[in-house]
Amino acid sequence: MSHLPVLQVIIPLLSAPIVVLLGRRWAWPVTSLVGLVTAGISLALLSLALSGDPMLYAMGGWTAPVGIVYRVDVLSGLLLTIIGVVGAVVLVFARQSVAHEISEDRQHLFYAVMLLCISGLMGICITADVFNVFVFLEISSLSAYALIAMGRSPRALTAAYRYLIMGTIGGTFVLLGIGLLYMMTGTLNMDDLASRIPAVADTSTVRAAFAFMTVGALIKLAVVPLHFWLPNAYTYAPSVVSAFLSATATKVSFYVLVRITFMLFGVSLLAQTLYMSKVLLPLSLIAIVGGSLVAVFQTDVKRLLAYSSLAQIGYFVLGLALHNVTALTGSLIHLFNHAMMKGGLFMVLGCVVYRLGGASLDQMKGLGRRMPITAFAFVIGGLGLIGVPLTAGFVSKWYLIVGAFEMGQWWVAGVILFSSLIAVAYIWRVVEVMYFSEPVESEICEAPLGLLIPTYTMIIASIIFGIWTAPMLHVASSAAEMLFGGMR
């Protein structure tokens, strides 16, 4: 049990070369087994983190500040669970979807890169060493670029290229920020940094470090106006990759942003720079409204969901910008809920692409008759995105609205409601095409069970956690309280 934190990262990392060596035949079984194991470990770590103090694991017995320490608290446990569970479900889904979308000689490489990506994302969430964060950030980003480039359309290549340019600038900004912090404090350990930064907080070096690290994280998070890489990347990536990255990568970037803001720099510096209310709040509101508005006018449903993701990223940042426990709780629940909903919806589109070869509105005409089960999954997931009561999306939006009222900013609640109305519009466009248009061909071609079962796992989870809210609420609120407690 005591080695779980390192196993969480090491197992997928070492499995990647093994999968390459094993070749095509064994790639999928081994990869999905690893996915299930890491999901199990992440759940175990979350329950350990919930039961007590943060768990520290000294790499190779070298304790901080000499060695690199892994640190599991409730927040990292939550993120690990999202990555682990989504990763496992998506990998089960991958068998048929990948067989259809990726040429046979590259499939085992695809699975290897997928494992590297999981390993990198896990590493970011578990390490307590800021330079280690940078290394894992680059591991996950590099594998994400490669995964996106495996899409069938040549535009996947340009999408990956643009993501690479933006992502590398973001990563280098983070690296520069870490360097400036090391200059001032002489340590890379997060706990040491947190205790040493206050003494030097009022210097331009630390302010510059904060600016570089925040902007770097915001680029990776794709907050408007740094979002231009995201829509194309999610649209042209293979369905499995869209589902996985939309459910995990942006969440992990948000985690990095939260760690930088709360753990490293704390409240005093934030109050000085006013960056919460003057920078993050307007940006998040623009993202929430703008992302939803642009989504309404898309003709490709994958692209529509990508723009909807921009709006959802706006919700995460809004919870951080409102800067109270309730709103941050809402934000953290939304991380989990959005992973279920958006992951599920992209998997629905994976089913559609599997049968129809594409997911444009024209191709989805009459889908309600041709693929009734798949279409119904989209409707449920869509209701979640809108935030209808009894879906998971309602819970997170509720907490965000209550948080906004607590800060006396009732108009923010108005913006959230307005954005939900626009979400009704873009989900309705798809529903209308699916159920009220004549299909191009009339024969029924439902997706195979191997795709439907994982898809429904995610979609039904988003309903279950909308009704049975207690467990996620407990995790999210204790994480939010821990973050605010650490600041005082």
């Binding site: 040549p154 690479l164 690296l175 200059m183 040493r196 070096t205």
Partner: protein
């Protein structure tokens, strides 16, 4: 806490910290290339410059004025171990025996030998630096002479204990070396940079196969038409 840094980081922002200004210029040149170039390979070159600037930034901040590479000098390590044992023994008893005085003389002889050899040696680049010669060797010699005098005053325990302390301080002044950690970090960052550039160039090769061009303007036009 701050002793590992010889220069004040960005505090003054005067021209004395010209290394940081050069890095900023290099970094912004790289960023400008990334933004302004339409040719994908040129963009990647800009991206690489941008990354290299940050690597230079780390290496530059690790430099301690007059510091040498953190390489072990065996004789001094022996002396260091002996002094550590001595300090511990004196710390426990508060007394310096006559035998230990002899030992102090031996260690001082050892250090003097090393210093005499070092300026001609390969490793001691620090001792070629004038400021260090003054600060380092000068202080070492003065301290040694004082310690010798103190140690020979038999029976005066206070000066004997002071001699041991001086000796300990002297040893730490003999070798000044740069902070090795940023260099180690940059080895990792360089590997990450190579991986990024390799992946980016591989993508450009594939883009060239698919679109028959690597000019972003032309690709955007092709994508808009399709």
């Amino acid at each position: 806490m701050m002793t590992f840094l010889a220069t004040t980081p960005m505090g003054g922002m005067g021209l004395s910290e010209y290394n940081y200004w050069l890095i900023v210029v290099l970094m912004m040149t790289g960023l400008y290339l990334v933004i302004s170039r339409s040719n994908m390979v040129k963009t990647i070159i800009g991206l690489n410059m941008f990354q290299v600037a940050v690597i230079l930034f780390y290496v530059s901040m690790a430099k301690v004025s007059g510091g040498t590479a953190p390489i072990e000098i065996p004789q001094l390590t022996d002396a260091g171990i002996q002094v550590a044992v001595l300090v511990e023994a004196v710390g426990e008893t508060g007394q310096v025996t006559d035998e230990q005085v002899t030992q102090i003389h031996e260690i001082m002889g050892l250090i003097k030998e090393v210093i005499a050899v070092l300026p001609d040696g390969d490793v001691a680049s620090a001792l070629h630096d004038d400021s260090v010669r003054q600060l380092g060797i000068g202080a070492v010699q003065r301290n040694l002479e004082r310690a010798t005098m103190e140690a020979s005053e038999s029976g005066v325990q206070r000066t004997r204990v002071e001699a041991v302390e001086t000796l300990e301080r002297t040893l730490s002044e003999v070798v000044v070396y740069s902070n090795p950690l940023p260099h180690v970090l940059m080895l990792t960052a360089i590997v990450v940079g190579i991986a990024t550039i390799a992946l980016a160039l591989a993508l450009v090769v594939r883009i060239n196969e698919a679109y028959d061009t690597i000019e972003e303007d032309e690709i955007l036009a092709l994508e808009a038409n399709s």
